[in-house]
Symmetry: C2
Subunit: 264 residues, 2 copies
């Protein structure tokens, strides 16, 4: 089956998809359009969900809230950014960078004193630099190669541990065999004191490890949130899930395993 | 004292600062530069911290983590976006929009089928449109007026309740008198099963309402988080704070009250 991921050619999503799935990849312009395509049942999708520097990816979390799709895998990709420039980086007219890339490389970029112009993807940064000889861009190895850009400074990310977690999404859930993790979307609906403490106690009482809890706006007005919760599948996890459903609205986003990435 | 906020002229930050503080406002290009200026002790700052559609503002949360500044007030601003265009919106070459504005107006923007180019602020969108007669931009009322742009479609935000919460930040904490809320930054450091449940139980046992919990990457590798917790000041809040400090690393980000916004 075709795998839809974020283009244009040379994004980290594209690079990871090529490693995981080989050739049958379709590049789409936005995360939302990928999730819509998966919901329509004609492709799987591969989308970034969180980065170790910049946090959750809003467009992906929002898409998971809105569309009836399942998470069927996860993969971790080390992120390395390079500053492409045709001359001295401090003398560039502008530097093109995706907003999350800017956050991930803020230490160097803020020290240069050059205006940073935001783009819609790392590959779009590369293309913007191609059109402007005085500009620089923060790009991946692959994008620098595809677009023929000279790298002036390698590894400009703030942290050497910079990693993005991606999820594979499908129209239907996968079977439970081999799964190690399960993602839930909890909608407390009512706002009572201690509700989140009670929700977390359901897992703590059973010794179930939660690897991530992220609040997102419910879009029912400011100060009202939903919670993305990832749990490790271990003894009692089904009972925890069922007990949770007696307390609050819960959607199962899917159970899955980590996909090993050949060649990374 | 001067109040530093996000420029250029016509941002929502600028509009709110003008309502709250009058004339002594300095417009800076990034949230990080505002927080640095406040930490240096020569200005107060006003920065967006969360939006009811797009969630937490990463640059502000990161700045609060990195710099020794205090939250000394909060204010809520209804956000209304308008599509500026010189002709038929569906026939524009591009539409300029800040990434969070794009998220907040995604329903209309995605339906138009016009390429959306991201900018560094709503005012930057207005300026980009000024330079390109075939382009449109998503802008505020104030920005449309300042930059002389015709509004083609009013109120293009997805939700009528679209609200941004801003915080006032200062170099030192304010006195407790009159404060209604207190913000904490909790760093669990070790990762043990049930720790967050135990942290939340400290408040729940005392009937203390938490208005917001947001996880942010700790920057110690993927899957390790800090937690921003906002609590309502009520009976037992000091004891809760002290008990929490026996369990985990806690930084007090400040106690504050809601600032009423004259004229909004």
């Amino acid at each position: 089956m075709t795998v839809a991921t974020l283009g244009p050619a040379g994004t980290f999503s594209h690079e990871l998809a090529a490693h995981l799935y080989g050739a049958d990849i379709e590049l789409l312009p936005t995360i939302r359009s990928i999730i819509e395509r998966v919901a329509a049942g004609t492709a799987k999708g591969l989308v970034p969900i969180e980065n170790s520097e910049a946090g959750g990816v809003g467009e992906t979390l929002q898409g998971l809230m809105e569309f009836d799709v399942s998470i069927t895998g996860e993969a971790y990709m080390p992120i390395r950014h390079h500053l492409a420039a045709r001359g001295e980086p401090g003398r560039l007219s502008v530097i093109y960078a995706h907003p999350q890339t800017h956050e991930q490389c803020s230490v160097l970029l803020d020290s240069l004193g050059v205006e940073v112009v935001h783009t819609s993807s790392n590959a779009a940064s590369a293309m913007a630099m191609q059109r402007d000889e005085h500009a620089g861009a923060v790009v991946s190895e692959t994008a620098a190669r595809i677009y023929g850009l000279p790298v002036a400074v390698r590894d400009v990310q703030n942290s050497g541990d910079n990693t993005t977690r991606f999820v594979e999404i499908s129209a239907a859930p996968r079977g439970i065999a081999g799964c190690t993790k399960c993602s839930l979307l909890v909608d407390p609906q009512i706002d009572r004191i201690g509700l989140l403490a009670d929700i977390l106690a359901v897992f703590a009482r059973r010794g179930i490890n939660l690897t991530r809890i992220e609040s997102r706006p419910s879009r029912r007005g400011i100060g009202k949130y939903l919670f993305f919760i990832d749990m490790v599948i271990s003894d009692g996890w089904r009972e925890a899930k069922e007990e949770l459903k007696t307390m609050t609205a819960v959607r199962e986003l899917g159970c899955y395993a980590r996909m090993e990435v050949p060649g990374i």
